[in-house]
């Protein structure tokens, strides 16, 4: 029994370490015709869709230009533009889930281009691909509150997708930016882990692999159908296992990438 407990603790520790926030930029590449995101914090690109950032990391409160975006030369078509679209409003981590903000807003700015994310999703904007096909950009993120108030400290989360206007490349899967404003690193990591586990399908791009065998197959389909109408096999993050989740599972049918 003691051995089982130790093994369980070790597994939990590994899971927390794996879910820890990723420092550094977001690496973009094209995989199977779509924009693919990965963390660049280790010796190899680690596929990820959840990225942590900390307000104040450049010395100015409630401001950061991280995470940046890095695509190697040749990734995108020169002359095209790559951008982001917020898929959700701004929300705050409660310790057990996310709640919508009230007065807090996230300003995303690049020179004259501005997008302010509040309670609802808003249009994003795009920036030109470099002449060598790379896309190395830093957006400026600033947290503020309406009515001249100061935002409450907390962990703020926004969901977005990245797109290209080249007419060929498909948008990325949803990705989540998890910003820490004045809370501990442990709490930040906890929020990143929660988003990875509950919204990003474990952080892997193979969300349909419900039984974790590295393959999306009949057993996953059976699990999804058994959980129909509940939150049991919710892949889209809306709290319900429905047709959208079935479509997502069928779209990722086969071996995980």
């Amino acid at each position: 029994m003691q051995r089982i407990l130790i093994a369980a603790c070790a597994a939990a520790a590994v899971a927390v370490a794996a879910a820890a926030q990723h420092a550094g930029d977001i690496n973009l590449s094209i995989e199977q015709g779509a924009i693919h995101t990965a963390a660049y914090s280790g010796p190899a690109a680690e596929p990820s869709r959840v990225f942590g950032a900390t307000f104040g990391d450049t010395g100015v409160q409630r401001f950061t230009s991280n995470p940046g975006f890095e695509a190697l030369p040749g990734t995108f078509a020169p002359g095209s533009r790559t951008g982001f679209t917020p898929l959700s409003g701004l929300s705050r981590f409660t310790g057990i889930g996310l709640e919508p903000v009230t007065v807090e807003r996230l300003e995303v700015k690049f020179l004259t281009l501005v997008s302010v994310v509040g309670t609802d999703p808003v249009p994003g904007f795009d920036l030109a691909v470099q002449s060598n096909g790379g896309w190395h950009r830093h957006l400026n993120f600033r947290l503020f509150a309406q009515g001249g108030k100061l935002p409450s400290s907390g962990i703020y989360v926004v969901e977005m997708e990245l797109y290209s206007n080249d007419g060929v490349t498909l948008p990325s899967d949803p990705l989540w930016l998890v910003f820490n404003d004045g809370r501990s690193t442990a709490e930040h990591n906890e929020a990143v882990a929660w988003v990875e586990a509950n919204l990003a399908g474990g952080g892997a791009p193979c969300a349909g692999d419900l039984d974790g065998n590295g393959d999306v197959g009949a057993s996953d389909l059976a699990t999804l159908l058994a959980a129909w109408g509940t939150a049991g096999a919710d892949l889209g993050g809306d709290g319900l296992t429905d047709a959208a989740d079935l479509a997502a599972l069928l779209a990722s049918w086969g071996a995980c990438p």
Partner: protein, 261 residues
């Protein structure tokens, strides 16, 4: 007859007095000597950056007016064969390899083979610092912020910049942090006071000469597109997005503002 053992010697008080006087003289001289050494290093750095600016201009003249481009993002992905723009200049014979490192540069992120401490740049996949000097990213083709918004505003050729004498091309990169591994800052993110010197100091060594932290009074070496160099305070180079000598679309107007103040 005087016995040798009775020869008069220094008393303890006399010895201590001499030691105290020597200590006082050292206390006066050492800071002055240190300050002289710092000034000498700053002057050598200024000569270095002037040579590099001349090399950049020679490169542009030989390249139909195209400006040398930045190549080393700080996020760990190599965008151009692992060379900084200074190494490109060096490899093509425009400058000497010894000019890649400023005498003011005490970064721990140089590799051991380059005579450094061998501490990798943070979040860089183990990369080391490649140059002390950086390019104003407004003049770098691949990383120009205006080019990202509107490609007709790309300022990547000498002919596309209106005021060469008031537009910075070369600067000193920060010795620590992620940007220590890069060869360009992101000027578009610097904002306005009070944050701008703090954000800028995370990317550029804005107090390399004055060694006094992040403030508008901090002094660094800057090289301008016409070939001249200045040891200038940060406030004389950058105030905010619309008043600075880095964005070529506002630099001519800021020059008038700076000279009026």
């Amino acid at each position: 007859m005087i016995h040798p053992s009775r020869r008069r010697a220094f008393t303890l008080v006399e010895l201590l007095s001499v030691v105290a006087i020597i200590a006082a003289i050292l206390a006066l001289v050492l800071p002055a000597a240190s300050s002289m050494r710092q000034r000498a290093r700053a002057a050598t750095c200024l000569a270095n950056i002037r040579s590099l600016q001349a090399a950049s201009l020679a490169y542009s003249t030989d390249s139909s007016g195209w400006l040398i481009d930045a190549r080393l993002p700080h996020g760990g992905i190599d965008q151009g064969g692992g060379e900084s723009f200074v190494e490109v200049l060096s490899n093509e014979g425009y400058c000497d390899v010894s000019q890649i490192r400023s005498p003011l540069d005490d970064s721990p992120h140089w590799s051991v083979t380059d005579g450094g401490e061998g501490v990798p740049v943070p979040n860089s996949n183990g990369a080391f610092r490649r140059t002390s000097y950086g390019l104003n990213n407004h003049l770098a083709r691949e990383f120009s912020p205006w080019a990202a918004v509107d490609s007709s505003k790309t300022t990547d050729r000498l002919s596309k910049v209106s005021d060469h004498a008031n537009t910075v091309q070369l600067l000193l990169m920060t010795p620590v942090g992620e940007f220590a591994g890069s060869d360009h800052p992101h000027v578009e993110g610097w904002g306005a006071l009070p944050g701008s010197p703090v954000i800028a100091s995370g990317e550029v060594a804005i107090s390399a000469v004055s060694q006094d932290g992040a403030s508008p009074e901090a002094v660094s070496n800057w090289a301008f597109l016409d070939g001249h160099v200045e040891s200038a305070s940060f406030g004389r180079v950058y105030v905010d997005e619309s008043r600075n000598r880095l964005d070529p679309f506002v630099s001519p107007f800021f020059a008038r503002f700076a000279s009026a103040n």
